[in-house]
Amino acid sequence: MTPASEWHAALAHTSISLRLLWYHCLAMKFGWKICWFGLSVTAFNALGCSGHIGDMAAQTTEGSSGAGRGGSPEGGMGGGVSDEPDPTQLMPLRRLTRFEYNNVVEELLDLRSDVAKSFPGEPTGTSGFSTPGLLSEADFTAYRSAAEDLAARSLKNSNPRVLRACAGKPRDDECATLFVKDFGLRAYRRPLSDREAGVFEGLYKKARTDFGYSFLPAVELVVSAFLQSPGFLYRWEQAPTPAKLEAKLIALDGYEMASRLSFLFWGNMPDSDLFAAAAAGTLQTQDGLQGQARRLLGDPRARKLVANFTNEWLELGDLGQATKDDKTYPRPLFHPAAGSSLQRDVQQFAQRFMLGGPGIDATFKELMTSPVAFIDVLNAGVYGLGTGTTNGDNWFSYKLEQLDPNVRPGLLTRAGFLAAKANAYEGDPIKRGKIVREKLLCQALVPPPGAVPPLPEPQEGLTNRQRHQMHMQLPECSGCHRLMDPIGFAFSRFDAVGAYHESEGGEVIDWSGTVVDLDGKDAPFKDVAGLAAALAQSDEARQCFVKQWLRFALRREEVKADDASLSEIYRSFADSGFQIPELFVALASSDSLRFREAAKGEPLQ
């Protein structure tokens, strides 16, 4: 359970007196009015959420020529096209995420490491994605330990790939100078200034002369210093020289764009191709950017990135550590190790429909509705395709299966997603609805009121859905819960591990519901396929998907200045029939990625 989605749990339990009152209401079959008095509810609470949604609507419809959110493909994303670059904001200064740190280390030092796993951790920023910010002593010493260790490992046996700058040359001071230049470019992800090169060469010389070190220990010290320096640790636009303001904006240079692309699509530093393109200046043209974007998207590193994006976007957490009641979910239906397999299934599904490939229709529609799943021996039981035993099977081999499109349409019916949005015993329509509202429709919800009525405890004769419905009808709950639960009801037939059940207590489970306020109107649906179809065709959902990627790319929320970029990206996305790779290409070459404003007080040329 992630802290962010966790607040509902506060709803689930409260004082005994409230609980008794609840049962009183149920037992007496009174109208809800009696409860209103008992709980002294205010209309303010009930209106909290809808008011907020209204604000969102006003904000998103701005600039869409009155067409409304459902009216035009670019509706809600404002702005028009012009030759002038559009205003856009800075990317906030941040350190590498742990995901990025591990990737970069692998690329830069030619070794595999998950050392960042032991780093102190990173907060989720306003973008909804990991955003490591201020550095503390705990971070610093963790970086230092990692750097000392990695530097030593990377130079084991004088690794020629790390020391490639002086291949075939003697290991001497001249080699060290070449090394600093070459390694520095890759560590800082741009050419070093003369001053910077001098600093690291100076460290090498100090180690040789003052400390009496031989070549390798001296170079090791240099590598360790690079790994602890801001040019390596921070993700920011950092050309060697101050930026130049033109027409109120700064065009990012080739190296800055190379990093923007590589971190956006790989969560990693640029490779040699990108560095070459940066040096050649081809990353300052739309064509150059788009060509590189397509190349990056075809690389296996993009798959890793999409998995990372999906994890954070859908708040999957570490499903390998997910907690399920082993009495309710015994083997072989649910293998205790199935969590990570379910996670891989969600990620592979996302990779398939976000990145595409031969014969794959990588559209937003398919992402929302395709019934394929990646079945292996561990997750087969959950998908009702076998017992999940491991007899002689390879644990790591999986098979692409077509599931029933009425039962398993799209990303949101992957068992891993459903299991992440559930407690140990049962599925959770509140969490499931909440994430659709927040992460698929980009609408904000307000905090719950303080004194919260409980969700009725599980009991004979009450279905999960009925309990939630009773709870949702309480006026202090309905303001927000009507925006979440009726979406979550679409998943009523999926339990806490994501397995499908047609009935509960002998009754067929009702999985109809409504998306309140979708593209400006309510969208009722009969079943989960109805919800999937509604989202697949929703402008609001497609626009939100674009926004999520922009937030991920820049680790900030979109602002008014991004409207034109969002609008253009959306147009390309729509023109392609909502091919997701086309969204990526358009994002990579958008003004929001290519330009930035000057920071307040930033020294300029």
Binding site: S118, V199, W236
Partner: protein, 485 residues
């Protein structure tokens, strides 16, 4: 297992130090870093509330008693406060506090999950990254420990202005009990990252147990790198806008702090009487966390650091109310799912996690579990008291004589997660400032009204000789009456 841990083990092995072979020295027997007389503050944040039926002392303000397990209702089974019985005369049990600053920020009731930015700051919040309960507020002012730490540092220049610790990894955005102040930008809390890894903490404080030559080399390397990094940060900082400069300034200050700490661990304050296995993966990233072992080591190392005057302030977030990823497996099989196997897999976790236990604390089977968990936390607090009592300070005193230790629960009941009528515990009289041996049931003095916790925070500042009229937002009043001797 992470690689740097692996390499460290290999390295120690290479030196013939197979596992932990640390000098078992008594901290006070060490010469040069003679502890200065003074005051020490430890603040502890504890989650998930308690069962009111059994948590409070019995009796009145001065004649209160702490019930034993045998004296509580059999259905409760455990008396959470029992571990404090030996320290009855050294504590003040304060009932009925309220985190009013949080309530006023949210315009309504603050839940136990979202209280962290408010707990020790006493100020109304400002926009910040999302924490639990969809709350998008962060601290607007320093937490009381960081406020005092800053003043102490100006005065005493300890190598570590404070130790900010938590035995639990992965607490997300709800892992900050201590704050430096309001956010520099809304996406990041302005807060020290809690140290979790006890091995890293140990080596930062007392070195890595290397031989003399290796140690010399390591320190030489680190100093030369700190020079480079410091210079690079200076240059980098000047390229940024004014807002981001502050962030890099923080990084730079950290580098300077680490330089000082290097000098501290080089000084003659030797490794204390702490048993730690430097090759062990305490964070146990692939299994159920060893929270109990880590927490004990963090207490040991905090006291050791204070004995050497490496710091005078510590803050510990023992867990938060949102953490559902681990269970109290060391408390016995009642805390694990029957038939599950902790050693080999993770299939059982979560069902008896603290949050689950707390929310069900009214159910028959869960009452003893809830009480046992609280008793365990208070055992840890008692252990901190005992360690400080056993550690000499100068002038024939002990560390405890000059200490104020705050045990701050984040909520009242487990089921309701309320943040009014919350009970906190103070231990230590800070060289005669506090009148201990008291049970102050209703500090506001008004029936049906909770006192803002600001009154306690204010008292802590005054007790630490950092006098203030009020701490946090001034409209929450001055020092709580009756605490002072």
């Amino acid at each position: 297992m992470n690689n740097h841990r692996y390499d460290r083990r290999r390295f120690l092995k290479g030196l013939g130090l197979s596992t932990c072979l640390l000098p078992q020295l008594d901290a006070h027997s060490v010469g040069a870093a003679e502890p200065a007389p003074g005051k020490r503050l430890v603040v502890v944040g504890v989650p998930n509330g308690y069962r009111e039926n059994v948590y409070y002392p019995r009796g009145g303000q001065l004649d209160f008693t702490i019930p034993t397990d045998a004296q509580v209702d059999p259905t409760e089974k455990f008396s959470p406060l029992q571990p404090l019985a030996p320290h009855r005369n050294d504590i003040i049990f304060i009932g009925n506090l309220m985190f009013k600053n949080g309530w006023d920020t949210l315009g309504g009731a603050l839940g136990g999950h979202a209280c962290l930015p408010f707990l020790l700051t006493g100020a109304r919040g400002v926009p910040g990254p999302k924490i639990s309960d969809n709350v998008t507020f962060s601290a607007a002012a320093p937490s009381v420990d960081q406020f005092i730490a800053k003043r102490f540092f100006e005065q005493y220049k300890t190598a570590f202005p404070s130790l900010v610790l938590s035995p639990v990894k992965e607490l997300g955005n709800d892992r900050y009990l201590s704050f430096y102040g309001k956010p520099l930008d809304p996406s990041t809390p302005n807060a020290p990252t809690p140290r979790v890894d006890p091995v890293q903490l140990y080596t930062d404080l007392f070195g890595s147990g290397l031989g003399k030559d290796e140690l010399e080399r390591l320190r030489r390397n680190r100093r030369s790198i700190l020079d480079v990094v410091g210079g690079e940060l200076e240059a980098f900082r000047l390229r940024l806008g004014t807002d981001d400069r502050q962030k890099v300034q923080r990084h730079l200050e950290t580098v300077r702090a680490v330089e000082r700490q290097l000098a501290f661990s080089e000084a003659s304050c030797k490794a204390p009487n702490v048993t730690i296995d430097l090759a062990k993966d305490y964070l146990n990233t692939n299994g159920n966390p060893l929270v109990n072992e880590v927490l004990k080591l963090q207490i040991d190392l905090t006291v050791a650091a204070m004995a050497c005057d490496g710091t005078r302030v510590a803050s510990m977030l023992w867990s938060n109310s949102s953490n559902v990823r681990w269970v109290y497996h060391w408390l016995g099989s009642d805390f694990t799912v029957p038939g599950s196997d902790f050693a080999n897999n993770n299939e059982n976790q979560g069902l008896r996690n603290h949050h689950e236990i707390a929310h069900r604390d009214g159910e028959t089977g869960f009452k003893p579990l809830m009480n046992r968990v609280n008793q365990w936390y208070l055992q840890q607090f008692a252990y901190l008291i005992e360690r400080m009592k056993a550690t000499p300070d100068v002038g024939g005193k002990t560390l405890f004589d000059g200490a104020a230790l705050l045990y701050a629960n984040m909520q009242r009941t487990g089921g309701g997660h309320q943040t009014d009528r919350v009970a906190w515990i103070l231990a230590g009289n800070a060289h005669g400032y506090f009148k201990t041996g008291q049970y102050i049931q209703n500090p506001s003095g008004k029936a049906g009204q909770s006192a803002p916790q600001n009154g306690v925070l204010t008292a802590l500042c005054n007790a630490m000789d950092v006098p203030v009229q009020s701490y946090g937002s001034a409209d929450y009043g001055t020092e709580l009456a009756g605490l002072r001797r």
